[in-house]
Structures are given as C-alpha cells and as structure tokens.
Subunit: 324 residues, 4 copies
C-alpha cells in the first residue's frame, strides 16, 4: 500500500524567493471564515480583494479595508491567487464554471471548504481544462480561531504550487501541512471530524455520569483535561455542557449534519467499520428532533440528560439513585 511520504509542516520560506511572489489575494465567499482570513492577510501586508453575493458581507469586508469586486469575473482580473470558502457543492460548481470561463491561465485557487471530495474533483476538472489549478486545502479551526490566526491548513494538490503558496498560508494560519495529492486535505479533514463527532459525545457521557454523582461538569473538565482521558473537545465543549452553554454556537447542529453525512459516506466508500462514529449518529438526529438545530453540537449533552432524567419521570416514583 502506497503511503503519503510528504508531510512538511514547513515553517520556513525555502525556495520561495525564487518564485514570483503573490501580492494580491482574492476571496470568493466572505462569511465568518473568509472575512477572518482576509483580515489576517491584510495585516500581513497583502492587497486583498473579494466578492460575496450578500451585501452585508461585502460592506463588512470593505470597512475592514478590503477591495470589493463587483463579481467573480472582475475579481479574477485583480488578483494572483483566489481563496474560496463556500457553503455548498452547488456554490463550488458554479464558482468553478465562472473561474474557468474567466480564462486566466495559471491562476491558483485555494479551496478551503468542507465538501465531498467528488465535488471538489469535478470542480478541479472543470478548471483544469482552462489552465486554472484548484488546490484542496480545508482548514482546521473555528471562526473564532480564524480571527486570531489559529488555523491549520491541510493542503493537498501539486507540490510545487503548495510550495509557492506558503507565504499566503502563513498570512492567515499558524501552521500548514502538505498532505500530498489533491483530495488528501479533505481526507485528513474527514478524519479530524470523525474524531470530533465522537469526542463531543464522549465528553457528554463522562460529564453526565459525573453530574449524576454530584460532580459539576466544570470540575470534571478541570480534573480530567490533563489526564489520559483528555481531549480538545473535553476542553472546548465540556464547559459548554452546563448552564445551556450550547446556546453559544461554535458549530450548529443543522450544519454539522452535513459533515456527518460526508463522514458516513466516506466510511462506506472506503469500506471501513467505525462503530463509535456510527453510535454518534442517533444522538445528533435526536438533537435535531429535540429542537437543537440552531444550537451548538454540545447539545448532545441535553439529549443524554433528557433521555434518562428526573425531568422526564413518567410517574411520581423516585429511583434509589435520587435518594442518595
């Protein structure tokens, strides 16, 4: 089995000097992620152009010092490299068509969205026919992290192009990895998300057990984080599991359902058994049914709590546990 031998968390600008530098970066999609990255690139000295279909996003971008293009075609003419941050496969295909039609040979496009690899493949093919190169570069990190440049880039595609883009990556992220052939970025992202899906629920299980024993979630997070059971999710989502902390949204359950579907499909395609990931599916479905669609995924705690707790007691009976 061939394996990826190229992993270079390159923090030094090696041969970059030899390549023509990118000075102007364009954004298609100026939502939470896009605008945060754009801001950091401006701070790093890049001239940043951008377009978004919503007026509000364009105004925010302009106030922040960005150059608003009137459409994607104009954007292409103004920049050396484009970063896309898109909400759906349809948006990606449409973008691919627009960029292909713009006919700018040699243009590089950094695609950072979390979308099906098949859709990214299709987009790449459309553009490749017109000499535009798409790189699959999903990001690890939330909107809040993007704002403080605390992102990691899972770059994949032609090695030479990734190397040329290092200064751009460094303008909006704390680290980047060259993960090899196009699509490997999304693969790593799906692996990360599989872990997130599970660790979010494992956190809820442990904290609920503690709560039933009279141990507060915040206490448990403090004690457990540094030990063998520690995880990033325990630290980040654990504190959101008391006092309805899930109302402060870092990842909406309804949006997360799309990610869940991508992971499930990837496991089926790769013929990999993932029993724990599978066991999380009913809990996110239940959270939707319970009305948490606009809350944070930390709300799975509420699902476990409600399915087993005194507030749902079917009769006046108390269980032995309650009396302790």
């Amino acid at each position: 089995m061939s394996t990826n031998k190229l992993v270079k968390p390159s923090k030094t600008k090696l041969s970059v000097a030899a390549s023509p530098a990118f000075e102007r970066v364009g954004f298609l999609g100026l939502g939470i992620m896009g605008s945060a990255m754009a801001g950091n690139l401006m701070k790093a000295g890049f001239e940043v152009h951008g377009f978004d279909p919503t007026t509000k996003a364009r105004q925010r971008f302009k106030s922040a010092g960005g150059h608003v293009s009137k459409d994607a075609a104009e954007l292409v003419r103004s920049v050396d490299v484009i970063i896309t941050s898109l909400p759906s496969p349809d948006a990606l295909i449409e973008t691919a068509n627009v960029l292909a039609r713009a006919g700018r040979k040699g243009l590089l496009v950094i695609e950072t969205s979390t979308l099906d690899i098949k859709d990214k493949d299709a987009a790449r093919d459309v553009m490749a026919k017109k000499g535009v190169t798409l790189l699959d570069c999903p990001l690890s990190g939330t909107g809040a992290q993007a704002a403080r440049k605390d992102l990691t880039v899972y770059a994949s595609g032609p090695a030479a192009d990734i190397r040329r883009l290092v200064p751009v990556f460094e303008g909006f992220s704390k680290a980047h990895f060259d993960l090899g052939p196009f699509g490997n970025g999304m693969k790593m992202k799906l692996m990360a998300n599989l872990l997130v899906a599970i660790h979010n629920v494992s956190t809820a299980e442990a904290l609920l057990l503690g709560q039933r024993w009279g141990i507060k979630p915040s206490t448990a997070v403090k004690v457990l984080s540094d030990g063998a059971g520690g995880s990033r999710m325990l630290q980040v989502r654990g504190p959101m599991m008391e006092n309805e902390g899930w109302k402060e949204v870092t990842m909406k359950i309804s949006v997360w359902q799309k990610d869940m579907k991508l992971i499930a499909q990837a496991l089926a395609d790769a013929q990999v058994p993932a029993p724990l990931f599978a066991a999380t599916i009913p809990l996110y479905n239940a959270a939707m049914g319970m009305g948490h669609e606009s809350n944070d995924t930390a709300a799975v705690f509420d699902v476990l709590e409600k399915m087993s707790s005194i507030s749902n007691k079917v009769a006046g009976k108390k269980t032995a546990l309650r009396k302790r």
Copy 2:
C-alpha cells in the same frame, strides 16, 4: 442536586506546617506502580518501608533503598501512613482485615487501586471500627509515568486528612485534587477510564480510515494531534497502532476488561446512557477472542483492520478501493 464544591489542586503547603509531619511511609503492594511511587518518596526524603507477597518485588524494593517489613503487621508498627496498591478486591479486603487487627488508632491509609467503590466502602468500614482511616485516592497515569513522578492523585475522604497528606502526595505525584467525600476519587477515575475506553477506539477508527486512503498512522497522529480531533489517546496510543505497536504493553487487554466491567456497572447503577462506551465493549471482547489478551489495548486497531480487510478476503476478488 448537591455538587462537589471542593476542588483544590493545592500546590502550596498551606497549613501543613502546623500538622505533625509524616516522615515514614509504608507500602503494601510493591508492583510496578507501588515501587515507582516508593522510589520517588525516597528521593523526596521519606523513610520508606514496604511489604509484598512476592520475593522478587521485595528484593527490588530493598535494592532501591527500601526497608522490607516481614509482613503487614510489622509494617504498621514502622510507619505513620500506608499506601496500598492492590490487584483485586480480595487483596483489599484481606489488607483491611490485617490493618484493622493491627490496632493502630489514627493510622491513615491511602488506597490507590482501581477497584469497585462498594469494595472500597467495605474496606473502609472494617478499618473505621478500629480507628484506622482509609482514603480513596486512585491515580491517573501509567507505570512509566509513575516512575517519572508524572502522576495525578484523585484524593477523596475526610478533608482534614487529605490536607495533612499533601506532603506525601507531593512526594510521588505532580498534582493532586481533593475531590470531596470518600469514593469521589474512584468516580473521577471511572469517568477518566470511560473516556480512555472510547478515545482508544476512536483513534483506531480514524487511523484505519486514513490507512485505507494511504495515509500512514504516524502522519495522521502528527497532523491531527494539535487540532479539534486531538486527544491524549491519539498521541499516546496512535503511534502504537502501526507495526504491531500493541506488543509493547502499557495496559493489557485482559486487565482492562476488569476496568470495563467496573465502568459498565457504574453506568447501570447511576442509570446513565453511554452509547459510545457501550459500542467499545464488543471491540475489547473481540480483541480477547483474537488472542490479544496479553497485548496493549491499542490492539483494537487490529480488530477493526482484520474485520474489514484484504487479508481476510473470502475470495480472490479485489474491491475497487484496492485498485486506487
């Protein structure tokens, strides 16, 4: 619901000066954990006595500078405080009877084993009748961590006794928490172990998915550890999931099965649904069936691999995935 309000990761010796200092510490059980802790206490200046039923353990202890007692009764007469590190509930009950019979009022016993709270309760009651105080103080950390003093103590029992024991805790651990009433130590330990049970398997799922895609486990561990999917298990067990790393044992599967049973019983008693923990049970059972009983729990990777892989192909057919 009453909650634990006392969590003091006290790193300062507050009122300790006022209490009579413990100078001589005794060990019952000089296995990997016991002997490692004893060694660090000696380095910290304590006079350490100990007893273990196996000759080899006693000799190792003596070579390391310990005072070997000829039995538990003699040990009691030689020390101010005793630390127990025991393999089974029967060993604990036997120890409780011996220490109760020794009739040394005011003796403090730090019980560090991972055992059923009901058994610890019984042991405490036996000793309490004779004026001996048992504290439930399980440890977070492996034998290797114990050797480099990288342990955390989950202390529970009378607050005043825990306070007096701070210098002893500091002699063999990097941190300790006063978690409140007797038994809370084991509760926190069970919560930690529930997370360990899950994160060990989630690591295997993510790394297997990556491997099928041609991404090496070591690459994935490097890239994922720092992100949202990161966990202690990913860092520690992840690297053990390639090249049969499970043959270097940090936790034997056969021993782990006892911990699994304790967690399952705790969830049933507390009436808590833990779907992910439940989903790990079949994998550890399967690892036993596959002959991994003496290997590390990281061998769950092998279970997932074997249940779905080309080495078990029922016919000569190749799947599309393999050809990619």
Copy 3:
C-alpha cells in the same frame, strides 16, 4: 399528529365491478422481480406486455408468453396499466419522462422499486403534468417469493386508483395494503428494511455466541425460532450462517448498501434516533471490505467470526475458553 387511518388489507373485490376492468398490463423492467410478477399475471388471465433494455430479459419474457414491446412508447399504447421495477433513480426519472411524453391521459403506473421518496415524488410530478398517475407501491418479498406469488404490496397514492387496481395486485401478490398518501408505501418499506438490517445482525450475534459454546447454528435456529427471540430473519438467514451459506445470494451486500443509505437518510430527515440500526452500519461496511460484496447479507456472521476468532489469533496462545 395526524395518523394514517386507512389500512385495508382488502381481499375482496368490493366496488371493482363498477370500474372498467384492466385486462392488459405492461411491465417496464423485466428483471427477476418484474418477470416473476409478469408470469403470475399471465397465469391469472391478464394479457401482459413488457419492455426491458437487455435482450436476454426480453427473450425470457417472450418465452414465458409475454408480448415484447419495442420500446416504452409502444408499450404505453398497448396496455391499461404499467408496472415499473427499476434499478436506480436515474432509470425512474428517464421512465417518467418517456411516459409523460407518451401523452396517454388516465394511465396508471404502479411503481414497485425501492427508491428514495424524493425521487419518486419527482417522477410523480413529471407524469402528473401529462395526466399520468404514479402510485408508490413497493413490495415485501424476494425474487424467489415473487415467483410463487408470495409478495405483499405496500400500496400508496390516490385511494380510488388503489381500489381500481385491486384485481391487478391480486394477480401477482398474496396480500396488499392501502397505506394512504403517496410515499407511505416507501415509508413502510423503509421501516421493514430497518428491521431486516438489525435482525440479520442480531441473528449473527446469537448464533456466534452459540457456536463458541459448541451449539450449532442449525440447532439454535430450530430451538429459538418458536420462542420470544424468534424472527423471520432468524428462520431465513440463520441457516445461511453456517457452511458459508452466504454464497447463495438472496440479497447482495453491495446492493443492500443502497438500501442502508436510504434508511440512514430517512432517519436523519425524520430526526429519529435508531441506535441499533446505526450499529449495523459498520458491519455491512466491514463485509464489503472483507470482500463479501457479491455474497448474501448473511455474511455479517463471517465479519463477527473473523474479528474475534482463533483463525486470526495473533500468537500461538490459547484462551481459556478454547480449553473448555
């Protein structure tokens, strides 16, 4: 919540006499299911026409006494009602377009395939514009059952049309249910398939436990079938779980994966938690990975066996169990 109040396993031809009788029935799709149903309708006295893109299917149909149409358009002109049995959503949409173009107002189409409700809805809408009525009528039963008229029809759509079609249903099935509005047929079919997905695996779990204890699967099936643990799957798939019985295919694992996806999507859309269904997903994925894609779904037994058995022993060690 409004519930379906109409369930009439009508076995009597009530008001059918008043309606114009259907004498000529057409088939689009003459695969295993289609040709078996066509055969029974011929025996029941109907004049049966049909079309299938594959030559072999058309010849078999002709030999059996059917009238082969040269295409779907010709078929429409020859019959009063059409039964579709199709392999994919694309085939359904294509068929819907052809039948809509044929412009035969009042034509009734009995759609028996297992496909996404959304696709059936789309097909219905296309035809409705041209006065053709689609009924969603999936079947319960395998090809072998279809041949001996041992099918159940889950009919859904306009009640009056279902009533008129009773004689046709009776010509190829043993029972039919009017389940209410269009789409309810597929809903009931998905509920049935959810149970099949689970009971196939539960059978494997029970039989493997028995086998490890020295109880043969065939013995267990005999003893358990009549008791509280009995199920249709235990009776039908249980015997296929020894001696590699999964090589006689009643439902291919690769085809079943499509059904699994439909159920998973339905649960997500309806926001229903189904933990047992979720727990079956990894086993079918694993069966694919193990090379069982062309074997029967009973091969999940092989997955459970291989993931936990002596044939995969990692070392020469024997477990205690083996020695008993």
Copy 4:
C-alpha cells in the same frame, strides 16, 4: 470444535414406560411461574407438593389443590422430583444446601430459573456430593404463557435423566429440547434473551420512525409482522408501544437489568462481539433513569421518543419536519 448433536424435541414417550414413573412432583418457589406450572401438572394428574417462604404464595397454592409442605426438608420426603423456580443466586445456593442435607439419594431437581451458569454449577456440585442430581432447565415463556401451558423447556444435564423426566416436562410445557450437557439450557436461554433485548429495541426504532411519519404503531405492527422484518417481539411488544402500553408489565425493566448483566458477562467470557446487544444497554439504563423501573421493557419506546421529540423542545422553534 465439538458441537451438540442431541436435539430431540421428543413429543412421544419412547422408552418411558420402562422407567419408574414420577407421580409426585414438588415445587420450591411458588411465584407466578412456579404456581402456573404446578397447576398444569395437577391437571395432568400429578400429585403436586410445594413450599414457598411467603404465606400468600402457599395459600394460593393450597386453594389450587396443592399439598403445602412445612419446609423444604419435608417436601423432599414427599416427592420423586423437585422443580425449582428461584429469584436469585443466593436462593439457589441455600436451596442446594437444604436439598443436599436432606440426604435423599437419587432425587432429581429440575432447575428452571434464569441465573448465572457459574451459580448453577456450584449448586449442582453441592448436591452431587449427596447423590442428588440437578438439571439445568430454563424456560422460554412468560407467566401468562406458563398459565396456558405455552412453555418450552431448554433441558440440559444427563441424557438418561432428561429422558425419564419427559412425562413431567409434558405436564407443564408444550415442547422441550434436550440440549446436551448441564449448562446448555442456560446458554440457549441467554441466546434467546440476547435476541429479545435487541428485537424489543428494534421494534421501538421502527415504530417511532413510522409514528413521526404519521403511521400508527398498531398499523405498522399489522403490516410488518408477516414480512421480512417480522419478529415475535414486534408482535408482542409492538402493540404495547402506544398509549403507554408499557404500564401492563410482562417483564419489568428493573428485573430485566439482571438478565442484561448475565448476557453481558456471557459475551465477555466467551469473547464474542455483539455490537447490537451492546447498543441496547444505554437504552435500558436510560429507561431506569427515566423512572420506568417498574414498567415493561416496551418502555424503551418512550426513551427514544423523549430523547428526540417535540415535548422536549428546547425553544419555541419548530423543525421543518413538523411543518410537513
């Protein structure tokens, strides 16, 4: 691997004529099961004696025509064979000691309780030393079924003794199987219960999906029972899943938790992975937590419903599903 070759659902009294007939049968334990079996044996012409520690049970037995013994020792002197139906391992061990002390060589004891095989082994050994033979013969069927002689006996132990007991089995059951060596009865019973644990929950999953789609549970049970998804649990427990049918108890959740523990332990001991059984554990734990301990196990439907439904809506928001 040696397998059980003896399965004889013997409905004919073969060589029984040659053996000395049993005319007097004794019962230890006259609860719901014991008294129902005793009644049928009386009807079949046996002289039935019995003892139970509770006054009420003895009176009911006397009214039904039974001969009340003043204790177990007296019972032994009055009968040829004893049937035990006991609530706990402790009751079994106590009974074994009493029967061993009674010193009646050649006495046969039919043990029908659902208890750990290890406990039954211990009881057998105690009695064997005094010439008393214990047979492990759990029953398939509820109290209601016992009353109408609708039981199946899973007999295990010495083949000759089982053969001699055929007339007794026929006096209180509809069928019996000789399953081979002592303990195989319990093994088959555990396999049956594993299936029951799963099919009860699978029924709840399917019916909840239907209910969300507006299909009533009773409708679904009617349509699905005869098809590929059919099971005994669907037929028996399905109808108990609407209108709080779980309040009519056929198996209490709190009692069922003991059976769950026996199955879990058996799977661990036999090193068998059973992912679906494992996935049921959280649901029964949750049912306990929700206060269903005295309700029927059909209450798992309520767990799935409450964890995902509008009655638990966290806000005034409606989900898309609700509007359809």
